[in-house]
C-alpha cells in the first residue's frame, strides 16, 4: 500500500469518523456507563474499525457498522471483566442495545444541549452549584460533601435527584417543542 493510498484511506476514515464518533461513543456508554471502561472500549472499537476499514462498503451506514463492532467489543470486555461483576449482564445488554441505537443523545444536537442548559438554568442555586462543582470544576464527591457539610452518600443522592429532575424537565421541554 503506497503512502498516497494510506493518506487517502486515512482521510476517508476520518471524514466518516469525526462526525459519527460521538454517536458510537454514546452507544458504548449506554451499554457500559462507567466512563473509564467505555473509553477503553472506544479505543478498541476504533482500532478494530481502522483495521477492518477495508471491509467497510461506501454508502452503507458507517454508524451502524461502528456500533456492531462496538457491541462485539462491549460483550468481549464484559466477558473479560466478568469476575469483577460490576457490569451489566449480557441479558441486559441485549435489552439495551436496540434501544440504544434509536436514542438521540442530548450532546449530539445543539437543540438538545440548549434544552439541557435551559433546564439547568431553572434549578435552584444550590443544585446549580453542586453541578458546577462536579462537572465544571471536576470536584470529587468527598470534596463536595466537605464543602456542603453533607455525607458522601447524601451527595450521591442529591446529584442523582438533580439528574432525575433534569431528565424530566428535558422530556417536558422537548415535548413542548415538538421534538419528541
Amino acid at each position: 500500500m503506497g503512502k498516497d493510498r494510506v493518506n487517502l484511506s486515512t482521510k476517508r476514515f476520518m471524514s466518516l469518523l469525526v462526525p459519527n464518533q460521538k454517536k458510537i461513543y454514546m452507544f458504548i456508554r449506554y451499554l457500559v456507563p462507567g466512563r473509564t471502561d467505555a473509553d477503553d472500549i472506544l479505543q478498541e472499537t476504533l482500532t478494530e474499525m481502522w483495521n477492518k476499514f477495508d471491509d467497510y462498503q461506501d454508502g452503507t451506514n458507517f454508524v451502524a457498522w461502528g456500533r456492531a463492532i462496538a457491541r462485539y467489543k462491549v460483550l468481549s470486555f464484559i466477558q473479560k471483566k466478568k469476575s469483577f461483576g460490576v457490569h451489566f449482564s449480557e441479558k441486559t445488554i441485549h435489552f439495551l442495545q436496540d434501544e440504544a441505537c434509536s436514542v438521540q443523545p442530548h450532546n449530539t444536537t445543539i437543540e438538545r444541549m440548549e434544552t439541557l442548559k435551559e433546564c439547568i438554568s431553572k434549578l435552584p442555586q444550590k443544585q446549580k452549584k453542586l453541578l458546577c462543582l462536579r462537572y465544571e470544576q471536576d470536584m470529587t464527591f468527598d470534596g463536595i460533601a466537605g464543602q456542603f457539610g453533607l455525607s458522601i452518600p447524601a451527595v450521591y443522592k442529591a446529584i442523582s435527584r438533580i439528574h432525575a429532575s433534569l431528565a424530566k424537565c428535558i422530556r417536558l421541554a422537548l415535548h413542548l417543542k415538538g421534538a419528541i
Partner: protein, 556 residues
C-alpha cells in the same frame, strides 16, 4: 411519591453510582433486574444517561463549537503530530500518591476525548498506552468506603450477645459485615441514608454497606424514605430491595424468609443462579421464600407482626395497631401504656399522687389543683359552682354548665382498685354486670362525685411523636352495690377545651354503659372528665370510665 417518580429516583441513583464506578454487585444486580423487567425503567435509564452525558460535555460544548473542530481538521498537521509522538519521550507512570490528588476527570478529557477527535488513528493508538496507564492508576486510587454507616437511635430492654457491645443511643455501627447478635429486646438503627430499621430479638444481623443489611434470623422492620430508595435486606435465601416503602422481614435459622409489605413496593429476589427469580411485592401483600426449595408462595399479610417503632422513654413498642393511651393508667402514676399501679390515685385535696386514702366526706375549696406528679394530668378540682362556671384547665378554660353541687367529695380519683364505704371498713371489687373492672385487664378510671380531672393532650402528643391524637373512647358505668338497687343519681360530663362534648344528667341506671366516642383534633389541648352528685348527695356515686383510652394513629 408515585411509582414513576420513585422509579426515576431509583434508576437515577443507580446510574450515578455506575457512572462513577461506585456501584456494587448487589446494586448492579438491582439495576440489571429493573432494566430487564421494565420498559419504563429502560426509558428512564436512557433519559438519565443522556443527562449525564450532556453534563459531562457541557463545558466543552460551551467552550468549543463542534463545527470549529471539524473545520479545523487538518490531517497534515495531525500526521506531523504523529511523527512527533514517535520521538516523544516515553510517558512515565506517575506514582500512586500523586495520582490520588490528580483531577482524574480532567486528565481523561485531555488525553482521551479531545486528542482522539483531533488526531489521526496513529496518534490514538500511540496515546493508548498512556490512557491505559491512567486507567490503571485510576483503579489504584482507593475507593471511598464509609466505615461508619448507621447509628443506634433507640433501644428497649436490649441486650447483645457480646456483653461489651454498648446499647446507648448514638453508638455508631460499621459496615464491616461483623455478626451482631441481639439476645433480648429491640433496637432501632438509622442508616446515614436515613433508612431506619427496628430489629427484634432474638436476631442476628450484619451491616454490609450504607444501604444493605443482612438478617440471618429474627425480625426486622424497615422504613425507607425517598432519599434511601434501594435499601436492601438480605437473608439466607432472599434479597428484598426497597422501592420506597415500609416492610417487615422475618428470617429463621432454617432459611425461610417471610416478607410483609406494609407500604409502597419492593423487589423480592429469591434463589440463586439459573433458579433465581425476582418479583415485585406491593403494599398489602406478603410472600414466603422456602429455605429448602427457594420457592416463593403467597401468605397473608400480618399487619401487627413487626415492631415498627420503639420509644425507650416510655418503653413503647408499636406494631401498627391503633395506640390506646390509657387514662386510668395515667391516674395510677403510669405512662399511659401500662406502667401505672392499680388502686393508686390523684388527690382532690391538693393534686398530689396518693396510694393511701382518707375515706371521709370532705368539703372542696373550689381551687383548681395542678398535678405536678404526672405530665399528662393538667389538674383536678372538686366541681361546684354558683354561677355554672368552673375553671377546668391551667390555661383558663371554663366549664360553663357546671352544676351547683354540695361541694363534698369522699374518695380520690383512682386507677381502679377497691370500693370503700363510709359506714364500714370493708372493701369490695368494682363490679359492673358482675364483671370486675379496675384491673390491669379491664382498666377503669374511678370517680366518686364530686370530682373533675383534666388531661393534657399536648403532653401525650409530646411523648408519641409521629402519632396524631384522634379520639377519646370509653364507656361510662355505675359500679354496682350488691345489696340493693341504686336510686342515687349522678351527672357526668366530658369536655374538650372546656366545651361539653358528652353529657348525662341524672344517671342512675344500673347495668347500663354509656358509650363515649369523642373525635379529637390537633387544636384540642385539654380533655376533662366531670362527675357530680346529680342534685341529691354523693352517696354511692361510684362512676367508672371503663377502658378510658385516648386513641392515637400514625401521622401520615
Amino acid at each position: 411519591m408515585n411509582h414513576n417518580e420513585s422509579l426515576f429516583a431509583e434508576v437515577s441513583y443507580l446510574i450515578l453510582l455506575s457512572v462513577e464506578g461506585k456501584i456494587n454487585k448487589e446494586q448492579l444486580e438491582q439495576l440489571d433486574t429493573l432494566l430487564q423487567t421494565s420498559s419504563g425503567a429502560r426509558a428512564i435509564y436512557f433519559e438519565v444517561m443522556n443527562v449525564h452525558l450532556g453534563l459531562e460535555s457541557l463545558d466543552a460544548v460551551l467552550e468549543h463549537d463542534e463545527n470549529d473542530i471539524l473545520s479545523s481538521f487538518d490531517t497534515a498537521a495531525l500526521e506531523a503530530l504523529a511523527e512527533y509522538e514517535k520521538v516523544a519521550p516515553t510517558l512515565e507512570s506517575p506514582v500512586s500518591e500523586e495520582v490520588e490528588d490528580l483531577p482524574l476527570r480532567k486528565v481523561k478529557r485531555q488525553e482521551i476525548v479531545y486528542k482522539i477527535n483531533k488526531s489521526s488513528i496513529i496518534s490514538i493508538l500511540a496515546t493508548a498506552a498512556a490512557i491505559l496507564c491512567i486507567i490503571a492508576f485510576a483503579r489504584l486510587v482507593p475507593v471511598y468506603k464509609s466505615d461508619e454507616v448507621a447509628t443506634l437511635v433507640d433501644s428497649v430492654a436490649a441486650k447483645w450477645a457480646a456483653a461489651e457491645m454498648p446499647i446507648n443511643k448514638g453508638v455508631r455501627f460499621f459496615a464491616d459485615g461483623r455478626p451482631l447478635i441481639l439476645r433480648e429486646g429491640l433496637v432501632k438503627l438509622e442508616f446515614d441514608t436515613h433508612a431506619q430499621v427496628v430489629i427484634e430479638s432474638p436476631a442476628e444481623f450484619r451491616i454490609l454497606t450504607d444501604d444493605q443489611i443482612e438478617l440471618r434470623y429474627g425480625r426486622l422492620y424497615a422504613t425507607v424514605p425517598q432519599e434511601a430508595i434501594g435499601f436492601s435486606v438480605n437473608t439466607q435465601t432472599a434479597k428484598i430491595i426497597d422501592l420506597g416503602t415500609e416492610f417487615g422481614v422475618q428470617a429463621d435459622i432454617y432459611g425461610d424468609t417471610f416478607l410483609h409489605v406494609v407500604r409502597g413496593r419492593t423487589t423480592l429476589i429469591a434463589g440463586t443462579g439459573s433458579n433465581k427469580i425476582s418479583m415485585e411485592v406491593i403494599k398489602g401483600s406478603a410472600r414466603k421464600v422456602s429455605g429448602a426449595t427457594s420457592t416463593v408462595s403467597n401468605i397473608p399479610l400480618n399487619h401487627h407482626l413487626f415492631a415498627r417503632t420503639i420509644n425507650s422513654a416510655n418503653r413503647f413498642v408499636w406494631r401498627g395497631e391503633v395506640v390506646r393511651f390509657n387514662l386510668a393508667d395515667v391516674v395510677g402514676g403510669g405512662n399511659g401504656l401500662g406502667t401505672g399501679q392499680i388502686g393508686k390515685g390523684i388527690s382532690l385535696t391538693d393534686g398530689s399522687c396518693v396510694s393511701d386514702f382518707n375515706w371521709a366526706d370532705r368539703q372542696g375549696n373550689r381551687d383548681y389543683w395542678p398535678v405536678d406528679a404526672s405530665p399528662f394530668v393538667d389538674g383536678v378540682i372538686v366541681p361546684d359552682s354558683d354561677d355554672g362556671i368552673l375553671q377546668v384547665s391551667s390555661k383558663g378554660h371554663m366549664f360553663r354548665e357546671c352544676p351547683d353541687t354540695n361541694g363534698l367529695y369522699f374518695d380520690e380519683i383512682r386507677n381502679g382498685g377497691l370500693i370503700r364505704m363510709t359506714d364500714s371498713k370493708s372493701s369490695f371489687p368494682m363490679l359492673f354486670n358482675q364483671v370486675e373492672y379496675g384491673t390491669v385487664q379491664r382498666p377503669l378510671l374511678f370517680m366518686h362525685s364530686n370530682a373533675c380531672i383534666t388531661f393534657d393532650l399536648d403532653a401525650i402528643r409530646s411523648v408519641m411523636p409521629g402519632f396524631d391524637v384522634t379520639a377519646f373512647r370509653s364507656r361510662c358505668v355505675l359500679i354496682e352495690k350488691s345489696d340493693r338497687v341504686r336510686t342515687e343519681k349522678s351527672d357526668v360530663f366530658v369536655l374538650v377545651n372546656g366545651e361539653t362534648k358528652f353529657k348525662q344528667v341524672g344517671f342512675d341506671q344500673n347495668g347500663v354503659a354509656l358509650d363515649i366516642d369523642i373525635p379529637l383534633t390537633a387544636s384540642d389541648h385539654f380533655l376533662t372528665l366531670v362527675a357530680t352528685d346529680g342534685g341529691d348527695s354523693i352517696a354511692i356515686d361510684w362512676i367508672g370510665f371503663t377502658e378510658p383510652y385516648v386513641l392515637l394513629q400514625e401521622d401520615r
